[in-house]
Subunit: 445 residues, 4 copies
């Protein structure tokens, strides 16, 4: 998490102020539940709420420093906070945290932060979905060459390409929703999860108020398979960003030039070469995806805590909690902006589509020949011959287009005349199902 | 995937025979749909089914060798298979695969294999769930010490520990079901996903017959975010196995001896040291978890294929498809067997629980003191003093138990007498909610 | 490790036969050292060598099955082997393995296998180096456009590009040599590394005979940081293969067409599209690189064994030992073949180089202008203006080349006339240092 | 990189001030070399040095903000810095950066930062080595039980255990030195590495002055295999820290209690349980190791840049450059402090060693029996029988020690009497080679 790749909204979730705000809320809610149950005096719960709320709301750097100072002595972060908080509550502070353990506070707080983060991430996916949808519809009928292995295959529409990315992010949205559910649980069950000194109704109350489910069986901590699943989902989403970014990088490369990231007035592409306009956003997104993926395995290694818990997961989460969510959030918004402002060059798409002399229609010719009675093997051989002849002469004086080469082939000519060939190669067939695909995909949303 | 860590059922899914059987089924179903649509003659579809089915059913090593030989010439696996298959069909073979591309067959086949694999994995989880459930109920009231940081914390029940693992694998079951849904799609949409030469109704027919959903928008391939999510789920499940294995390893270590993997008659633990009985199953599971996790990032790197596809994902999937599912399947069954046969030593659990002179009840004393009016800080200090005195004298002639040390402390004695202390430290409180937790957890199933 | 991506030489290293051969050699050498020291009778050492050697040399499938059967009973692989071996030695067999532990045999054997594997890998790198070197020299003066961000930057030579890959694999060779040294150690130090029942001179003897160093301090095992470093080196080498493969994939894409993988007579690029010639080797290599990288983190997780050892590393190594080395070995040889046979199109390189109207010389014009007295900022702005005008009109009737646009700019024209511009843009300057770079790079070899 | 896990010395390396200081030095040195070569006026080089040096030395937050503002407009970090720098130099600023490209500055700067970081890491390893060495020598003759699989194996010395870690970090030191060499290169070769507009002697001069080697063949960038190897080495070192941390965690667990992290006066182990003293440093180190390992694969993915470079590596390095080095640096120093202050309990070690009734001497008895003429199989069976009888009765009224059980076995008694058994089990044999091992290991340093 570095400012260059952070949006303030997401960074704020991981600020000490937000964390302490949530800690206080958990302690205050727990106290209120205990008061209701008669475990502590009602007046104590009120004192905690009334003494603590303004103290937390008005937190200054001096307060953060004070908490740090206490932590340096006690070497315990929750005790440090409770001590500082108690200074504003007085004698009734002793009724806070009764029968609870630090992890009750820490893990429930992390659940709140991760759901807050998930909500922002889903918002980022929505922004990207909207950009992809708009551009997909805009270019629903923009012809472009489809490529497999980087080699021209058959025509498709640029909108259809974007629709595929839209559908992927629609799935990514579902994955983030599932990931949010994974981590949205509350545990206030005491040092080893037995509720030895705290009533399960306290947990139920805090969970309900915070919008979390109750963790059915916790140890000292909420089990880390939940967090592992969360970060794994982030890795999948990041990989989808990389796919989209890779597409843009390819489209912008000098020999393709079918699309281009928006180039700002005043922008300089290179310190040395003034002619440069580089796809720096998409390249950046490619790198950010690598980073987010790098957090997946550490999160999975966190699952196997010793017995009822060890604290090895904590340092990992202190780093990757913010790093993964902030970086992915930034990437989603960068991707959304990139796609919304992408400059598209339909003429260049058409020119590229036509640049190989028509060999990209080879499958349709192959089918016409087999339907005209040729064996699959013979038809394949004839079409391959004509295609290779066309391809190999590209850019030379001997260049002839695919149709010409086909008709010059006796085997082909015996089955198809020029008109039949024209019909077989009709590009309209490539686009006949585009509307139907759009309909079935967008219907899902 | 090595025989040592494979079960035949799972390995069979990845055999050439199973793959070719599925390939044939896809081609035959597609031909039948095309015949229904009038694209190819009905007699051709029949010929394909009738000529191909016995050929595939009776596949021998000689057939596999023949297909390999054709592939060596054409350098194309699907063409090699179709050529071999066509040899048993005759002239109508030219109507096979019309308008389709290899990936239509390959990716739909992979979807079938992955759902088959998912079903076996879910079966493995079920076996493990059953073992965990039975042992959890068996030991619902077996007291044992709960540990955080490897240090005795408070008592819990051994059944409750196992119940936590049960709940984790219940979640893992849901994750595998979700992973199965992710990959259970069929695409027969042609070289770039436009249905240029194949009717979408062919895809719909094949999908329905194979129990798959239709991929809403494919390129040449089914998008790889689905597979990435699948392998990520396997990584989470594997990490859960590691957590369980780590627990067993700890319980068996010589100083703990609370449980032990079953040791077979005739088994030798060490070539050098005849006294050894080692937790080799759980250690093995720990390693297997590492391996399965190692496949997650490659699967995520597979997402960003170039344009409508490149084939870089293929070699990865040829290896990790079998490796990840076979290894995890083996691990699940090994874990289930290990847990079913685990030898448990309740007496040793009780002895360990009592081995620290009672300091494990420190929280309950702390609460009693605060409820008796002490400030949290003073109470903490007094209890810590008595606990440290107890702990530090363990095993020495000066050893005294926690209660004695507490009552010797003037601050404590001023608030609690021996009887009050006995009540405060009553172990019954540690187990009061065990039934309730079991009820709420198992109710979910 | 699957046959499709295996060379027999490397696979053989990981065969049971090779493993048992090495195990026997270690036992026999150890016995000979013990006989020399008087620990066991000299006749026993002779009996072990003479009884065991032919037995191991003539190993059949029946022997492997017999060993498996014993292992199923004892659940111990080394004991199973020793029992089988002893059946050919007789009574003196009891002098084998005296004071040793299984890991003495297993870990030293693994060291031998890994050094054998490293030698093959280094041979693979050498094959690739030779192919790269030959093609680099062949194309030392073949002009091509250099690209950053996928955008044309400045001219370079194709040979220079290849030379960069050569230099990277030269470094990879050094890394493999270092990795080989890391793992080339022998430990015969007993169950916890104390030599309690075996003389250190036994270890020294076996090490010397096997060409290994003595592990200075072992526990029960050779420490796994060595193996982690080994697999990490493989991951770096694999990543270099991916870089080379990515280059080829880019050069072959339809809009670039500067180079192409060799396309065999009879080869079929696509089942559907007969015109296709796809860069399938380089795409395959890209996937193989992902796989090899996936083994790095599991190998690192293997380092933190418990106390004097646990056996969690073993299952990982049983899989990634063969998988990583076999896959990388295959990839290196595939890469070498691909580069040796790569079809290169210098005319197409030249055409691409010239396709942007000369803007690729923008830096040289920028320098000429600053040297003629313009500020860097003004010169940059003027050159950017002319370059963008050239670029944006590419392929339109308004297209004008870079020089024309520059001279039409008053600020530029005030400083440089047509001749000065021609001199500034002289492509000869791009190639002036190529010989010197070749000289300094190849001199290192 | 978060303050909680950072040392200021390492964090400072990655500060903007340090980066800009290095950028300036590269530009000034390059200008001086160009002046020497006559490419630019000597007065210009002097103006750059004299105008720039004080400006960089006195950099304030306002300067950083100004650079950021320029970058927001130009979207180019190096241009932003050069513009700001030029404001302090005047007209001669146009002679800066002549014929260079941003990467010449960025990559050479990164090389300087990474070598600075490597030096600090090596210092950290040295601190840890010193702590390990001192404690190893202190406990050279402290008996403790060696454990494999977590099960008591044979006695060893605590110093020997620590010596093994010392040796591992000695290797890690060498790996860091090699990693430092990997990245310590300078490239000033222009936009595609051809020296089209910059003389190679400029590169040579800058390299020499900065203590770097010349990169033999660069593209626009220094090849990323170097950086991948660097981060891989960090992953290996981190894994060694995890191994050490895991050892401490095990030694401190309540049933073992052989060693303990220093517990500060005033420290609180748990908010709920005042009796707790937890191994929080070693658990923390375990987590930090996971994080550092997580950066390895992203660094390897950075290798395969497109053509002469793309900028996808940059965002990765901006994050993992600081994160990996800062985290590992912190971990090394934390580990050093932990080991220096570790409380060791030799009495408890002795008690644990003796807790299994002597079965830990089983190998020595096995050897004595085979030397007395029993077959290996029979001896193994007899010793296993006696050991299991001993083990299974531990803690019961029927408990008898291993020697007693052995002598009660007729097969054993026929070969060994009580005195022979006492000699066979003599613990002195376990420690006979400790001095020799220390000597051979420490001799290497």
């Amino acid at each position: 998490m570095i400012p260059r790749y952070s949006r303030p909204e997401m960074a704020a979730i991981w600020s000490p102020e937000n964390r302490f705000r949530i800690w206080f809320e958990i302690e205050a809610l727990a106290a209120e539940a205990m008061a209701e149950l008669g475990t502590i005096p009602a007046s104590a719960a009120r004192a905690i709420r009334e003494g603590g709320a303004p103290r937390v709301a008005a937190m200054s750097q001096a307060d953060l420093d004070r908490i740090d100072a206490i932590e340096r002595e006690t070497r315990h972060d929750v005790i440090a906070f409770l001590t500082w908080l108690g200074e504003g509550i007085g004698d009734d502070a002793r009724f806070m945290h009764q029968g609870m353990t630090s992890s009750d506070v820490l893990d429930t707080c992390l659940a709140v932060q991760m759901t807050q983060a998930a909500d922002l991430l889903i918002g980022g996916v929505d922004a990207l979905l909207e950009a992809l949808r708009a551009r997909a519809i805009e270019h629903k009928h923009t012809p472009t060459i489809g490529r497999s292995h980087g080699i021209h295959a058959e025509p498709t529409s640029f909108g259809l390409k974007l629709l595929g990315h839209w559908a992927e992010f629609r799935r990514n949205r579902d994955r983030l929703l599932a990931a949010r559910r994974e981590v949205a649980t509350c545990a206030i069950s005491g040092p080893v999860g037995t509720f030895a000194s705290v009533d399960p109704r306290v947990e139920a109350h805090v969970a309900r108020k915070l919008g979390l489910a109750v963790e059915p069986v916790s140890t000292q901590v909420i089990p880390r398979d939940r967090h592992a699943a969360f970060f794994a989902a982030l890795g999948v989403v990041a990989s989808g960003i990389e796919r989209l970014a890779t597409e843009v990088r390819h489209l912008q490369r000098s020999e393709v030039r079918e699309a281009e990231e928006y180039f700002h007035p005043g922008q300089k592409g290179s310190s040395a070469m003034p002619h440069k306009r580089n796809p720096v956003l998409s390249e950046n997104l490619t790198g950010l995806a690598r980073i987010v993926r790098g957090y997946v395995v550490p999160a999975m290694e966190n699952v196997a805590l010793w017995h009822e818990r060890d604290i090895s997961h904590s340092s990992v989460e202190r780093m990757i909690g913010p790093d993964a969510t902030v970086t992915l959030d930034f990437a989603l918004h960068r991707a959304a902006g990139m796609m919304a402002k992408l400059t598209v060059y339909p003429k260049r798409m058409q020119a590229n589509l036509e640049s190989l002399g028509g060999v990209v229609h080879s499958q349709k010719v192959l089918l016409a020949l087999t339907q005209a009675g040729m064996s699959r093997e013979s038809a394949y051989a004839a079409v391959q011959r004509a295609a290779m002849a066309t391809w190999n002469a590209l850019g030379t004086p001997e260049a002839r287009d695919f149709a010409t080469n086909l008709l010059a082939d006796a085997d082909v000519a015996a089955r198809l005349d020029a008109e039949a060939l024209r019909v077989a190669m009709d590009p309209a067939r490539d686009f006949g199902q585009v509307e139907a695909i759009f309909a079935r995909v967008l219907a899902e949303a």
